[in-house]
């Protein structure tokens, strides 16, 4: 039995290691943070070093939903649908102050943070965030993925890991 647990643990580590270096992002770009997303994705900062620079322009092929910019109430059904279309495993990054908390918009139009409608794994503050902060967030997300449980078979018992 101890042997099985050992194998399971090592398997989780292996799968986490694999998954953390192939985060295909889906950039849901709605506002000015998109400029910073372009900066962080292009040569000087280059998220490809972390395996996270191959934007998939369909949610069905992507692992990480990057919510880049203000989400309005009228747009909320769209992003919910995009999130629901993504295959497991999936992670969500709230990029910038507006996606994190609504930012300085507090009115009839703006959603007060995208975590009101979909679960968010990592928040990047800033208006807009520096590229270094985005890279830091990607590395923290990689840490989270590598330490997480990765059940491959549906009958594997899933115990939540507190990080």
């Amino acid at each position: 039995m101890a042997m099985m647990e050992f194998i399971t643990t090592r398997k989780d580590e292996l799968v986490g290691w694999v998954r953390k270096f192939s985060i295909f992002p889906y950039p849901f770009v709605t506002a000015c943070c998109g400029m910073e997303f372009m900066a962080v994705a292009s040569t000087l900062y280059d998220t490809d070093r972390f395996g996270a620079a191959l934007p998939r322009f369909t949610p069905r092929q992507s692992d990480m939903l990057m919510v880049v910019g203000t989400i309005s109430h009228k747009e909320a059904p769209v992003i919910k649908k995009v999130y629901d279309q993504m295959c497991e495993p999936k992670w969500v990054m709230a990029f910038g102050a507006c996606a994190t908390s609504g930012g300085f918009y507090r009115n009839y139009a703006a959603l007060q943070g995208v975590d009101k409608i979909i679960p968010v794994d990592i928040y990047v503050p800033g208006c807009p965030p520096r590229p270094e902060m985005v890279i830091d967030a990607i590395m923290k997300l990689q840490d989270k993925i590598s330490r997480d449980r990765h059940p491959i078979f549906p009958f594997e018992e899933q115990t939540p890991v507190r990080l």
Binding site: H73, K74, A76, P77, K80, R106, N107, Y108, A109, L111, Q112, D115, K116, I117, I118, P119
Partner: protein
């Protein structure tokens, strides 16, 4: 054509005129909007409809100002029209028969301020969504009142 000849030509249709940073401003009753703008377009060469918007003065009666901006590309003149409408009957005649772009701008004024444009048959919401209650740019709309479409988590 100058502002002097223009205001002379239109003098039966407006109540008062003033100058705002070099631009002619005419105030007129709501019933005169359509004849005055028809004259502007047909006879005075004002071929560009720049904007229509509204201003809310909650303590004043009548409550709303509807503000129009026009531009004449042949005379290089700009013109602002202001008219007042009451909250009980916030109705102005549409300009969509003269300027096609008025259709969309009037839709926006309609959803944001609740001003009706009689004759415009398409006043569906354009920036807001179906089911939105109230008019968010009115001063009595609570500043942080939200009307979410998607149910919140938890």
């Amino acid at each position: 054509m100058t502002y002097e000849t223009l205001s002379e030509k239109l003098k039966n249709l407006y109540e008062s005129s003033s100058d705002s940073y070099g631009m002619l401003v005419l105030e007129l009753p709501a019933a005169n909007i359509l004849p005055l703008v028809t004259c502007l377009k047909e006879e005075c060469g004002f071929d560009l409809f720049l904007d229509v918007t509204a201003v809310d003065y909650p303590e004043r009666e009548p409550r709303f100002n509807v503000v129009y901006h026009f531009y004449s590309s042949s005379h290089n003149l700009r013109l602002r029209l202001k008219t007042q409408v009451a909250e009980s009957d916030p109705t102005v005649a549409t300009l969509s028969g003269l300027f096609g772009s008025a259709r969309y701008m009037e839709r926006e004024v309609h959803e944001m301020y609740g001003i009706k444009f009689s004759g415009n048959d398409d006043l569906r919401p354009i920036l807001l969504y179906e089911g939105f209650v109230g008019h968010p740019l009115r001063k009595d709309y609570p500043i942080d009142m939200e009307q979410p479409i998607v149910a919140y988590r938890k």
